[in-house]
Subunit: 159 residues, 2 copies
Amino acid sequence: MKAIITALLLAAAGLAHAAPNNASPIYGVTLPDGYRKWQFIAPAHETPPLDELRVVVGNPVAMAAIEKNQLPFPDGTVLVKLAWKHVQSTESPAAYVPGAASTVQVMVKDSKKYASTGGWGFGRFINGKPADEAQHQTCWGCHQALVKNHDFVFTRLAP
Amino acid sequence: MKAIITALLLAAAGLAHAAPNNASPIYGVTLPDGYRKWQFIAPAHETPPLDELRVVVGNPVAMAAIEKNQLPFPDGTVLVKLAWKHVQSTESPAAYVPGAASTVQVMVKDSKKYASTGGWGFGRFINGKPADEAQHQTCWGCHQALVKNHDFVFTRLAP
């Protein structure tokens, strides 16, 4: 009996390690610590239906690669895209500013772990929780189709 | 003669110190070193005729104040707004991304030096050079009229 309980506990611990409930389906990507303070790469405006303002930030590995135009990005690169609803300013009506946060999306470079998806693992988070598997099945196809000549990354450094 | 030359040199040095040619008219604000790597506060989208994407960043004094909701901003605060033309992405047509850089605008808090303008000095730069005096005469009136309840600063921290 004791052996069975021990085996069950070990199995449970193993499952928890393999797929923590704050990690993205398919890829197992989590939100990196401290990303809100990372250096920004560029902003973007996504028209409706998404209707968002966005800022992409990079960790130090990403920024070092970008500074020397290094492609493909090295292992350890992490890119995070923050997004908010695109809302008209009440104080300056010609301007649109961030409304409620919508998604936070993460790309992690690990050329071995993610060899079948260009070396990138993807994560999409809403209120800090990973989106479902169906949403994560859409990431790679789009990045692969549209930006294969830029190591599957849309964002370029804003001058 | 020697005394006259010395006096002229001193006067020239004094003028150069008072208004270096990379400083804004009226305020004498210069572009701060390293601002491109500062933490971002928020993005914005300015509709035509300006037609820009923008990111506002803050120096460490600014970010510390923002984290604790400190108003007015303390002396030493520097805010920088980077702006680019709002250009449709060729790779993802629903998105607009940064085109050419347009202006870089700076606000510096010094409650004594800039006492007559809410404690703020302003600088607007195009290709690294300060814009003319007429442009700088517009800064304070607009900030004073529209955002006096937020220490004359439009930008809020994006969540």
